[in-house]
């Protein structure tokens, strides 16, 4: 009887040791799986982070290239543009070469379609308002509709011409409006570098009609500032003038180029190029 009792104790001991061992093994396997999942997540996060960093790094460099000729900044709902017109052709050359450098030397696959950026064309978002440069013209052109043209509230335009290049400016057509959703408040300053000419024009204009301010020298047209439907601005200019312009909108905005940048690696990122 005593022998049987001892055997039972032995079996019980062996079974409990085996159960304990199985529990520990199960715990180790569970921890190992968790660790493997954690590592996998970390690798995925690392890939996404790598691609995001590359993307923002390229955006930074493109912004640096553009800023040699055009400074664009945003303060909540106002976009500020400062540049010399016409825009230097060197921007397009430098953007093209930088894209070529990235294509050749980047560890990731970098694909850039930068045709709009090379033409110094930008978008004020989310309102889809275009900022464009075409030969001797500078434009800010909203789309029709409340979310685009409807959101334009103010324009400030400051044009600085070379000394003795201009001597007068006057409205040829003026379409005033009373304050309301169809009105845009404008301030145009026309000056020359010597400050011999320094003219300010403050008006509340009808967004959906045309107003034209001619800039002249001894009666001959040198350039003009035109406001036209829908809430658009055109500056027709001669060579080498300084432009400071701002457009005030009714909502917070940002500026991007209407071009796409794609980074492909273990993760992918495609998007427009943020400028400001």
């Amino acid at each position: 009887m005593a022998k049987v009792g001892k055997m039972k104790k032995g079996v019980l001991f062996t079974v409990s040791v085996m159960l304990l061992s199985i529990s520990i093994l199960t715990l180790v396997i569970f921890l190992s799986e968790q660790s493997s999942k954690g590592k996998q997540s970390a690798v995925q996060l690392s890939d996404i982070d790598e691609v995001s960093s590359k993307y923002s790094g390229i955006e930074d460099q493109l912004e640096r290239i553009i800023s040699t000729s055009i400074n664009i900044s945003v303060d909540n709902s106002t976009v500020f543009i400062e540049e010399r017109l016409p825009v230097s052709q060197q921007i397009a050359i430098d953007i093209e070469r930088f894209a070529w450098f990235e294509y050749n030397y980047s560890e990731e696959n970098v694909s850039m379609n930068l045709s709009n950026l090379k033409n110094a064309s930008f978008l004020i978002q989310p309102n889809r308002i275009e900022i464009m440069h075409e030969s001797a013209n500078f434009y800010i052109v909203p789309e029709g509709g409340n979310s685009s043209a409807g959101s334009v509230q103010t324009y400030e335009v400051n044009l600085t011409f070379a000394s003795e290049r201009i001597d007068a400016a006057a409205w040829q057509t003026l379409s005033n409006a009373s304050n309301g959703s169809g009105a845009v408040v404008v301030h145009v300053r026309i000056q020359d570098e010597s400050y011999a000419v320094n003219l300010d024009f403050y008006e509340t204009l009808d967004k959906y009609s045309t107003s034209l301010l001619n800039i002249t020298k001894e009666g001959s047209l040198v350039g003009y500032v035109r406001f036209y439907s829908p809430a658009a601005l055109q500056v027709q200019h001669p060579e080498n003038i300084g432009l400071k312009a701002s457009v005030g909108l009714s909502n917070p905005v940002y500026v991007e180029a209407n071009d796409t940048l794609t980074i492909s690696s273990f993760a992918n990122k495609t998007g427009r190029i943020r400028i400001a």
């Binding site: 040791v17 061992s21 930074d60 040699t68």
Partner: protein, 142 residues
């Protein structure tokens, strides 16, 4: 006597088995603690941020090694060592030509886990790109 010896052997084997299991678990858990997968991510992020700050401040494009060294030391945590190598190219006749390598930071230790990140940047001069560079940063925990 024979039965006692047999039981003793079984008992010793089971004890050994248990001890080995406990040891494996301890080693596994300590290895997990040492090689957290997020350390890699964290170190690379530190490297990228440091390069980005130095680029945006114009320090990487300055070519001034002592300025780059002091900026690196003031930006990085003391527990992290770093070495930076900048390869610079210029554009000529339709292609990119190697120009120079600039190195700064500490020497890379032989027996440390290292983490490598990079940043491409351009230097501007007289309103145009003067050269194209790739900065490669190697980081390690001191």
């Amino acid at each position: 006597m024979r039965t006692k010896g047999f039981v003793f052997t079984i008992d010793a084997t089971l004890a050994l088995f248990l001890m080995v299991l406990v040891l494996i678990t301890i080693i596994f858990l300590s290895a997990q603690a040492d090689e957290s997968p997020y350390v890699n991510l964290h170190m690379l992020r530190i490297g990228k941020d440091t390069l980005s700050v130095m680029d945006k401040q114009g320090i990487l494009t300055s070519g001034n090694v002592s300025l780059m060294n002091s900026s690196l030391n003031s930006t990085l945590q003391r527990s992290i060592g770093a070495h930076v190598e900048i390869s610079t190219y210029y554009y000529d006749e339709g292609g990119f030509n190697f120009m120079s390598i600039t190195q700064f930071g500490s020497n890379i230790p032989a027996n440390a886990s290292i983490y490598v990140t990079s940043r491409d940047f351009v230097a501007m001069s007289n309103g145009r790109i003067s050269n194209y560079s790739i900065a490669r940063m190697t980081l390690w925990q001191k």
